[in-house]
Subunit: 269 residues, 6 copies
């Protein structure tokens, strides 16, 4: 459904250049990586080309590390169909590979410090493209985290301001016997300890320094050892390592809202 929407977006009234230049020419084209990266999006691009009955041969699977110049796939069939898909195919590959590579780089760096650390995305994704971005994070070795407001419980600052206290909020959930974990976002030590006392499965320490995280995290774990400690808020590749020793999971909006894309190109051969 999404692929059809994207096609509508890029060629709703047809491709006025190719439709004028070509009739029924057949071509073969090759998609190549223009930089070293971890590739993501191959499966989606294959689906795209198949909507037009094009023949696709993939040379590389999602999740593979490739070097600059690696052929990712070849596609053959109607010239007009190949060219109509070109930009969309590359846009999907570029963004997904950018996110997957950045995720994987972080995962590898952080796991050198703490082998069990999890690196997760947030809901700070591009509207209309979330599935692809979350999927890229997973391909890169990260966690998708909450996919939408419908699939996980997260009690955040604005909830607490309205309802008054963590205790009142938690009274509405019963995580121990629930199929869903309950996560609470906290910004102070007092809140963190209250969240632990009321039995939050996941406590997200928001916008804290590594020092605060170290201290508060330790107290939380003492109070409730099974708590998952998630760090979030202002984390970037520059400061992430300082947090790793004190966290079970680190989530970064950065992965989906500010990672640069990786370059790919398609050449008719």
């Amino acid at each position: 459904m999404y692929l059809e929407l994207y096609l509508q977006e890029d060629s709703g009234f047809g491709d006025i250049t190719s439709d004028t230049l070509f009739t029924d020419e057949k071509v073969k084209a090759v998609i190549t990586s223009n930089s070293d990266c971890l590739v993501a999006g191959v499966e989606e691009v294959e689906k795209l080309f198949k909507l037009f009955d094009l023949e696709v041969k993939t040379k590389v699977l999602d999740g593979a590390r490739v070097t600059k110049g690696t052929e990712i796939l070849s596609v053959a069939g109607e010239a007009r169909s190949v060219l109509k898909c070109e930009r969309l195919a590359l846009n999907i590959l570029m963004r997904m590979s950018g996110i997957a590579t950045a995720t994987n780089d972080l995962v590898r760096r952080c796991r050198k410090i703490e082998p069990d650390i999890k690196i997760a995305a947030t809901r700070k994704t591009t509207p209309g493209f979330r599935y692809f971005e979350k999927h890229a994070v997973v391909i890169g070795g990260g966690e998708a985290h909450r996919l939408s407001l419908s699939d996980a419980i997260m009690i955040k600052d604005n909830h607490l301001k309205i309802i008054g206290s963590i205790e009142k909020a938690m009274a509405k959930f019963n995580s121990e016997k629930s199929t869903t974990k309950v996560e609470i976002e906290v910004t102070t030590k007092e809140q963190a300890l209250e969240a632990a006392r009321v039995g939050a499965d996941i406590i997200m320490l928001d916008n804290m320094t590594p020092g605060q995280v170290k201290e508060i995290g330790a107290e939380v774990k003492r109070l409730r050892p099974q708590t998952i400690l998630e760090i979030s808020g202002g984390i970037t590749p520059d400061n992430i390592e300082a947090y790793v020793p004190y966290a079970d999971m680190i989530s970064l909006g950065w992965l989906t809202h500010s990672t640069p894309a990786k370059d790919f190109s398609m050449e008719v051969v």
Copy 2:
């Protein structure tokens, strides 16, 4: 239509946290910029909140330069509706403001060198979010350039490989008397001069050094002074200034595929 799709994406089965916590509480919330930036997306966010009959007061218009901490707008009404829109509103603002700020920064830097230079986007946008990204470029002072394959003629390398020559391709168009300009992408001096000879309105020099651009651009202008010279391919904020003196327009996929987002937050007050 897009806003409804985005809402479906972020809360297709409802907001299971807020729907459990709240019934009919009313709140007021404020959206604030967390960094200096040129704001874009206010008009779209206002439309979003109005879908839920929320009352919006905008303090800043699209295109304004704001400092960190500036209040962008306030919104009031049903708590559940405000919170349901929160993330989507911020995602729109973050991305659009990131792109608009980066565009504007480039426009200002480049216009110090050449006051008439145009900075343009490409079709390297996020699938499903193109309208918002192109609109952000325009708010930032840039050019939207081709919106889709349907609205402008651009003859690129793959077209030429299939059809054989620029001359053959141009024979299918008659730009002088057409409502649409014809653009040709070239990678060599020979192609550039041929494109000028056949009357291309816009010649895009692809992936060249500033030196090549200087030399080829001059020859093209000598041959056909009214040609618009567009430079593209591998342009980034780091190398753009070297191209400015020799170009009418510089287009960068970077504006929409690799600019970092700007941070905004919403607080219930």
Copy 3:
């Protein structure tokens, strides 16, 4: 978005009766319950009428127990709009109240036996109407359980057949540090104990007798006390009580695929 689809389904080419009979008559109409029930769907019906700028006064909130003849809401405005919405409004109320009432009846019966027991729905919902059905279960005091394949991990018999063993499957998940609980469906004591050993958060005993559940459940809890025991498969209002003492949660497809609707009607006054 769903309400608009449903309207398209019921009056895609207009209402050929009312469009012929009426021009701009204004009416007031009242929706009444024709049986004792727990009402669900009021909020959705209110949204529906508001799409047509009709004035709605709700007399009863979602979740209220009402007796036959209770007025649920009144609606006033254009006759053609009121009549165009009539059937859809009633269809939503009928189904949602049927499900909510049946859920609530079960919850109350079962909680007399075990006050903490949870009654949950499954994914056996009507295609195209799931959100409303899951929401009705929640209004009735039940659990929505997994909303879609995207929001929770459940390893079922067919997964195990393909992958070979519970252990191999669980090796791909790490529930302790995950934001999502992991559920495994088992059909034998051996599987149940293996699932407990590998750390499943939720073990679903599928298609067992109360006797089997009692025995296996006890062994599972001995092995791993924090496991949530879910019973499913062939549970109906007739046999549910025998399972209650041995379960943390009982899930029934019956709630959404076989509960009778509750009758409501709308009268112009």
Copy 4:
């Protein structure tokens, strides 16, 4: 279009269990009936699987009576695709077969009393799933009746309250020369006779006892023999037989809003 919506509903962000467990495994699976029933939905399920290029072999056609344990179809191909479709396929079969079986049971019981009697559905269907439910009724030997407000004229109580009288309403239609029959719903003998006098093609006696139906029906037929007498309102399998001798057609919302589903399951083999 509907199948794609249903897939979006059940796996909008992918199948997070199977997508983690599997890559490109191939499987074969078999769908089996778990009870005696009249099967409906096979054709739709086949279309669903074909969206994923799965190979389907149907063993039973829509409309067949099967016993518990009968294999309905087999499907083969990508494991992830088969499992993604599993629940939706079963949900379609369960509901459609439930409705088709119930319809067929009623048709057979009633036709023993009156061989020409027609059993019809109403517009009391599940929003978003009407086509499938109406189609199931037809497969079961019943009549779809009015598909939407757009395709048949039915003058109901609320219309009459607004317009004042049956005569005034009928003045707007001219059934004798129309391509569409005109149906009037009546609740009293006076209304029924007036409807006959003004030439209604179908008179629906709403919420009457068998005794009333017998008497009023006879008078209507005397006045206008070609009238189709439809009985509706509160008809269930428990009371339907008492109405059969006096009716041309009996319509029941019960067929689509309160029939239990039939159980089917899918096993990987």
Copy 5:
């Protein structure tokens, strides 16, 4: 839903002229008829403007005969919104009024000859715009006839070729006791008489001369007086009158596929 699709079609990436020229100017504009016609589409255009919160004052109702220069409605509000709707509003009015006027002209001409004659549309409508075209026919005094393949039974030549005979086809329907009339399209006298014998409610004489219609129609009526005789196939305003004396209904694809539009314009005042 359709209006939003049409807006997407005409301004998917915004209105690049008005969006550049204007910010928040307010305007009032007036829509005027540029020819004598019967107006249709006012109600739809009003709905369109209201999607943008514009204030509309209609001066003329659907179905009114107006002279050139008559003001149809005025609209006031945001300049950008008014201009974004301008062309779509006019396109709707032009086409619907063209069809409604042509229909009404034919209805009036034909009813001078035979006051009870019905003039009907066919399914030869513009894809994507059928509801509006059928509605225009009704506003003009004609019959919508079959809205889609879903709402009426019509046995045509291709059906008969496949199934073998009218008798075999009719055996599958039982019109007398059905809520839907059955129509059969015939091209010879033999077919017409067979259709009458098997009890077709409506017999459509396809592509015959007035003389053939006169003769065959009379025989059909003798055989089965209540049959509705419909004439179709090649009927235009030029030859329609010759058929009127022998028909109950005349249907013309011409009404929706070949009527010229009526001109309207919108002026900012």
Copy 6:
């Protein structure tokens, strides 16, 4: 996406005639032209049939001149699928061929007078069907002209009324260095000359007599020779020739809003 919408429009609840008459019969059918025309729509119709896995053999390509009785294509496969597509296929062919033929007739007539003249469509298309209509114009040898408000800049009378003057409007655009041409619609000589002075690429003389066009056009060309002169407003096949000598391009709403369709039919063989 559009084809699926059109199918939904024509058979949302199935084809109740064919679904009753047929099960899995296979047929072959042939589409034939019933008049001399220039064929357009073949490619679209082929796509339509392929959605249903029907086998299509095209005998004639888009743009071919055919005589009455020419076979356009044959289609083979499931009877129910062929019949479900029949009307939609013919509706597409009829309208597109009607527009393409009318366009081509005008192009040929006008090019006898002035070989370089361009004949263009406008945005006066049928809502929901624009792509097909614009495409038909192109197949007929005409120009699509502006596809939507998003892809070209056209300053019209209502813009000028709001902004005050052509000069003020043009100050917002800089056509010389833009990728898009700027068009201004004028109604007086003064406006035309001002438009030329400010550098409009295209000046559209609206609603003028041939005499006015001759005089004003000459002055405009003297002032700015490269201006494209477009004539529009009230142009029909009856008056077009008088304008040809003085225009670069003539655009007519007539091409898409008032051309009669061409007749095609489909016969099972």
